[in-house]
Amino acid sequence: MNVARAAPSAALVAAMLALPFVGSEYAVAIGFELLMWIALTQSWTVLSGMTGYISLGHAVFYGLGAYFVVLTYGTVPLWLSLPLAGLLNLLFATAVSLPVLRVRGPYFVILTFGLSELVKYVVLAVEAALGEFGRMVFGVPGVIALYWIMLALAVAATVLVELVRRTRFGQGLLAIREEETAAEAMGIPVVRYKMLAYGLSAIIPGMVGGVMALRTTYFEPQAAFDPIVSFTILTMAIIGGSDDARGPVLGTAFLTLLSELLWARAPEIYLIILGVALIAFVLLLPQGICGWLFPPRRPAT
């Protein structure tokens, strides 16, 4: 099983490594986009896939990371400011996790969404007070350099999910998803575990946001904290399936490539087609592409 699973992953990483050398500028741009969504969706899985607490507010980490990197650009070197953006998000997530994780189900979904919007408007207000209406970043690294960073983040996020899944901690998260009260009664420190999962799921999105700010060379709160980021992460996880690290990769690839194709060929109706595709996935493949391709090996009763 390990070889069968490791080989495609290694092939995929090799292909993404080769892309800047053999691919066109357009291909690299698509590859960059793919890697970004893989990094975001895998990170989200650590919390929402494993514990069942569905976050609809991961844009907050993306936006905060972007803000931090833009603010410190030029004073703090990138090799330091990116990890710091991750750390900042870990701290922020841990700080807000206690109130946020008190609720579950739809309340948690709404609360995470609300938190992201709240932070967006706070940043907007701060920027307005400072007289800033969008910040330009100058002298950013080239696309290829940023591509390598994004590749590293996507691999790191995927490895993180796989590691968490294999540990005792991961098993505890799964128990929380299945039955939180029973999990707690069996000695699982549910509060600590949920906080840790929330914190871990925030680190890489913060770094991704920082890289994206450099890619767009521009920071504007409405765009950096765009709820579309949160929605897209969730959509990709649903389409791919989040019970397995392969799911987010498949979902991301499917949605990114489909949008590219449709956007170029049917610009007027491409969002309609995407909407129909999402509904079809939820109805027909609730376990996602991954659950459909690789059904969990479980003997029938």
Binding site: R168, Q171, G172, L174, A175, E178, E179, T181, A182, A183, E184, A185, M186, G187, I188, P189, V190, V191, R298, P299, T301
Partner: protein, 242 residues
């Protein structure tokens, strides 16, 4: 000799409703204490207070002389007290084996993955579910799920188990099997058992002492035969004949 578990005048209210009022109980090592009472008498509340799901408003709960009031349920589990739930709470999407491996890894046993598996298999064998270990937990019958609850509590490595109506809804044959299972587990692991049960005959049969709750008050405690003859208990159950 100090009691393994002692409750000192434990009270709990919900708003204006007194669910439990100054209930005291001393449980010694290896004992089986049955808890009876009508619906709403406070039986499950008592378990929730011991297991940490609820906090008492008054009184103290001591495990080996140390207060456990205010500890979270997971801490209390790791101190060696495990409970089952009246309404079963399996990890529905996981296999029967996974359901029992998790408590073995996290409870007071805190075993590594390999040892946890061995503990889980042994617990499943004791409750007669070993052959079903690869099935999804939610596919078990009620009787199966009740036995799974029991196996999970034991797999935590607890020395005190709180069994909340593990026989409710079972057929007479299944009740007899469950009694045999509890006896077997007790013998093998030297468990101390607190058991809530509506199946009166079963409760009287397995308990060494019985605590009777009525509207949150402990109205009788003692050997099953003595309790069954207690005028206060009879008055509660059959009405006052005077």
């Amino acid at each position: 000799m100090t009691a393994l578990l002692s409750l000192h005048r434990v009270g709990r209210s919900f708003g204006g409703l007194r669910a439990l009022n100054e209930v005291s109980l001393e449980v010694s090592e290896g004992e089986v204490v049955g808890i009876m009472g009508a619906n709403g008498a406070g039986k499950t509340t008592l378990f929730s207070l011991i297991a940490g799901n609820l906090r008492p408003n008054s009184g103290d709960i001591l495990l080996r002389g140390q207060s456990i009031v205010g500890l979270s349920p997971d801490r209390i589990c790791r101190r060696g007290i495990a409970r089952t739930f009246q309404i079963v709470r399996p990890f529905g999407g996981l296999t029967v084996l996974e359901n029992v491996t998790i408590p073995a890894r996290f409870g007071s046993a805190r075993s590594d993955a390999k040892a946890a598996r061995a503990i889980a298999e042994e617990a499943l064998r004791m409750v007669g579910l070993l052959a079903r270990r690869d099935e999804i937990a939610s596919s078990l019958t009620l009787s199966g799920q009740k036995r799974l609850e029991l196996a999970r509590a034991v797999a935590t490595g607890a020395h005190i188990v709180l069994l909340d109506e593990v026989m409710a809804g079972l057929t007479a044959t299944e009740v007899a099997e469950m009694l045999a299972i509890i006896r077997g587990l007790r013998e093998r692991h030297g468990l101390t058992v607190l058991i809530i049960e509506h199946v009166m005959r079963a409760l009287m049969e397995i308990s060494e002492r019985v605590l009777v709750l009525h509207h949150g008050e402990a109205i009788a405690i003692g050997a099953p035969a003595a309790v069954a003859a207690d005028p206060a208990v009879l008055a509660c159950y059959f009405g006052d004949r005077a």
